[in-house]
Symmetry: C2
Subunit: 193 residues, 2 copies
């Protein structure tokens, strides 16, 4: 049925519009203060109409959460891995810090528990796990092997981003340490081999 297909596309487009509006408002007034009323108003609707597109506020947040991890996945996929390891890790770290700076609410939704009564559903969580596994495999191929090394790495990149956002959200203070972290880490790997 062609008409059904058209309607499905239209529906998907509206869902996108709603999510875009939600991100926009979250950036303006804080993720924790995001309300369905405001999101609806932002797309020219009233709150109850949103329930045509999402089962609940939680399922809308689920969609945003999964979207964030798909974006991170794409970002990491674009990091060049043909140079030496330190160069690749530097690029990955810089990309990650910029990714976090680009949208504070996205960062909060993906990496902190900033929304009061919500946590990602199992379905949404799977997307984040897939993203993590892709990163793990790419790093392993580049020479970062073992859970312990990977944990050390994620802690350092998470720390850079956290400090950058908390203390210098629009600046470079921790971003510029990306290369130091990468070199330090590569030296650490060499020493423990």
């Amino acid at each position: 049925m062609v008409t059904t297909d058209v309607r499905a596309r239209r529906r998907e487009a509206t869902r996108r519009e709603i999510l875009d509006a939600a991100w926009r408002l979250a950036a303006e007034q804080g993720l924790a203060n995001l309300s369905l009323r405001d999101v609806a108003a932002e797309v020219g609707m009233r709150a109850p109409s949103l329930y045509t597109y999402f089962d609940s506020k939680g399922s809308m947040l689920d969609a945003m959460f999964a979207q964030g991890y798909r974006e991170l996945d794409e970002l990491y996929a674009g990091v060049r891995s043909d140079g030496d390891l330190a160069a690749m890790l530097t690029a990955a770290t810089e990309a990650f810090v910029r990714f976090c700076q680009a949208s504070v609410p996205r960062y909060q939704l993906m990496f902190t528990r900033a929304v009061a009564g919500w946590e990602p559903s199992a379905r949404a969580y799977e997307v984040s796990v897939a993203s993590y596994e892709h990163m793990r495999d790419r790093l392993a191929a580049a020479g970062v092997q073992g859970q312990r090394a990977l944990d050390l790495w994620t802690a350092m990149t998470a720390g850079l981003a956290a400090q950058q956002l908390a203390n210098d959200p629009d600046g470079d203070r921790w971003f510029v340490l990306s290369r130091d972290v990468a070199v330090m880490f590569v030296d650490h790997l060499r020493r423990n081999r």
Copy 2:
């Protein structure tokens, strides 16, 4: 006036009781869900009575925030600094991760923006700055000099704690990397001298 003094003490004791109750409830039901009604009930009062002891919910959170940084300050003051640098940094990192694990709401209040409409007042913020400066001075005395090195250090410890709380709140998975981080960092300092 003796009576006034007694009343001031009593008042201070009640303030303590209220803060203890707030921490307890925050641990049970989440910092973001903390309400004055519940805190009041926990100490056997009704919500309006709390306004005798705190101007607003925000000022209660301010007191909790400042309390957290005073506790962190004491913790760091107790870290032995007579051994070699790597040993001291390992101890400091382990202490910090345990400090964060000991109270998730305290961690959220101090280091994230987990409460919707609140941020620390200027007075409360000063306490956190003082704590930071003490840590900075202690590290400088031990051989960690310069803003860049300090920023690198805070990022790594913040990252360990963040990953530990997010992915293994009651475990050791990132805690056990404290020594690796310390040694890695000391090597980095030596190389850049």
